[in-house]
């Protein structure tokens, strides 16, 4: 069981690196979407007995993170008529190297932290740290609004991964609420991006400079 789980988490960690290394925005969106779907499957693996709430959260996660949000982003992409991140603040190779270093660091860090016996062999904690870091890197290092939103999604995926540590003991109601909030958040982000695109004729956040001291 832990092996299947670790396989999926390893896949998610690989997708981090893919998102960090790629300059084409559609592949960044795809990486975030596939990662979201992979993570959506995990509660089904962890939870042993059948529970309708678990299924609801899993299906909800897969639909929202795998289909609804990526479609929203692709639509914004088409409207803005852009395809690439041209001048990232942190280059693709440096961010890939940083991401890889963070993955190794996350494994080392998780080794030093006290874990419950049932989580001892799993990649949940290092996977979560590495994913959160990759999300941050995208959020800080890219200038296109869409890349930043993908960074935010990957950051949320990492936190979601950590939340799975608590799945056996805390009510899923909270997780359902979190999923709902995330959906609304990205929806609102999508609307604002649409308006920024109309007002500024670009989704380049470098152009958002009229507010400063």
């Amino acid at each position: 069981m832990t092996n299947t789980l670790n396989l999926f988490i390893g896949l998610a960690m690989g997708l981090n690196l893919l998102a960090l290394a790629s300059s084409r925005l559609p592949s960044v969106i795809r990486a975030a979407a596939v990662q979201g779907m992979v993570l959506g499957l995990l509660p089904l693996l962890i939870e042993k007995e059948f529970h309708w709430m678990v299924w609801l959260v899993a299906v909800g996660t897969i639909v929202v993170k795998g289909f609804i949000i990526p479609n929203l982003l692709r639509r914004a992409l088409r409207a803005a008529n852009i395809d690439r991140e041209v001048q990232p603040l942190i280059g693709f190779v440096p961010s890939l190297l940083l991401g890889a270093a963070a993955t190794i660091g996350a494994v080392a860090l998780a080794d030093g932290l006290p874990l419950l016996p049932e989580h001892a062999g799993s990649l949940l904690v290092p996977g979560s740290f590495a994913t959160v870091f990759a999300g941050f890197l995208l959020l800080i290092g890219r200038t296109k609004a869409i890349s930043q939103v993908c960074g935010y999604l990957i950051l949320e995926n990492g936190i979601y991964l950590f939340g799975l540590l608590l799945i056996n003991s805390t009510p899923l109601l909270v997780e359902a609420g979190i999923l709902l909030d995330l959906t609304v958040a990205v929806f609102v982000i999508g609307i604002i991006m649409d308006r920024i695109q109309k007002e500024f004729d670009s989704l380049d956040t470098n152009k958002l400079t009229s507010l400063r001291e």
């Binding site: 932290l113 935010y152 003991s169 909270v174 958040a185 507010l211 001291e213």
Partner: protein, 490 residues
Amino acid sequence: MKELALIAVPFLVAVVAFLWPSERTRPWLLPVAGVIHAGLSLWLLIAPPVLAPGAWFGFDAVTRAVLPMVSLLFLVCSIYGVAYLKLRVERKNRLFVFALLVLLGFLSLALQAQHLGLLWVAAEAATLMTVPLLHFNGTARAFEASWKYLLIGGTGIALSLFGSFCLGYASLNAGGSGDLTFGALAVQFTKPTSQVSEVINLWHPWLIAAWVLLLAGYGTKMGLAPMHTWKPDAYGEAPAMVGAMLAGGITTMAFVAVLRVKQVVDAAGASAMTERTLLVFGLFSMFVAALFLLGTPDFKRMLAYSSVEHMGILAVGAALGKVGIWAALFHVWTNSLTKGALFLSAGNIRRAAGARNENEVSGMAWRSPMSARIFIAGLFAITACPPFGPFFSELRIVRAAFEAGSTFTAVAFLGCLLFAFFGMTRLVFAIVDGRPRAAARAVGDRFRETAGVILPPLAFLGFSIWLGLATPSLLHAAWSAAAKLLFPTP
């Protein structure tokens, strides 16, 4: 039941507002909700209910010490809102009124939340509901501010979710059953301190990680430096009443979240760490705010930096033990209500002048005399001149610092206040005095200082004086009860 009504009434009125057909009469729903909400919270303030053990939300001592203030703030802002939206007939107000009411509902939920996860969900939802309020003006600058608010606020709230999970995991490691209500968490961490250090080692790293992440996350919502960067943009672009609700409502919610988490971490015996970090963040925020206040040319952004400064004051207060927490809760009231007067009068001045920069605005004492007078009085109030409320609450924080034996804190605190005073008086008198500009004359003729836009800020000033000179004993008792709950050790 009344606790639930505090949350349900705004939501219900919000639905009604969304379906309401008339643009002209819809804003009147705001004061309707405000009056009911204020009545309910006054009732609960006088006769607090007993909190059921293990409840996910309820009106406990901490809620009692702050929620009536948010309710009062909303009530006065809602009355201003009717007059404001009448001036803005060219913009559709359906979404604005709806979002404002939903925001009130989520603020009531977040302030009453006794469960770590529920608190997060409510805080995130409240953050999202402010976005439509921020870009009500529909300008490019407003969208830029909304984008920055979303990105910084969203990241902050993601960090606090991460921190909440870490705290939950720490409690599992401490032998907890997964009950994430604040009371249960505090008990779980108190138990093992008598045991051997090996048990503590199991959860201590997670606890520290949780505190750091939660403080960074909710600190971003509060606007503590260096996570304050969304504030000037958001406050600068938002309509005046939204600024007042952000500065008095959202930040109060985040401060209460920090206090509740601090209570849990303190129970685990880490109060030295929480107090030191809060003190550092607090003094740093005051310092950064004082620096920017000396330089900013924009009087709406000035209010944002003043808010950063006062969040710093709250953090310093929270770091100074029971007396400090009491004073901080007092300051939550005085600061929020005084800020209300400043934001609303600044909104009037902004409309009368058609600009917000000191290079473009002057002579407002002639163009909008009442608003300018309220703005000056508000300036002296917020920079802690007697007899206004902030003077008394800040005095108590300084006294708490001296009593705690940290003279450095008190001296740094007073120094920052002094520079903030210099910065704010410089800017305020630059826009109030002098001769009116030609540009302002053209716009100014359209703006009339009606009772609807003058009485609400005047009421806020009245509250500020009243809190300073005659603090009701009921509030004294409420703050003492909350301080006792948050800081149980004598």
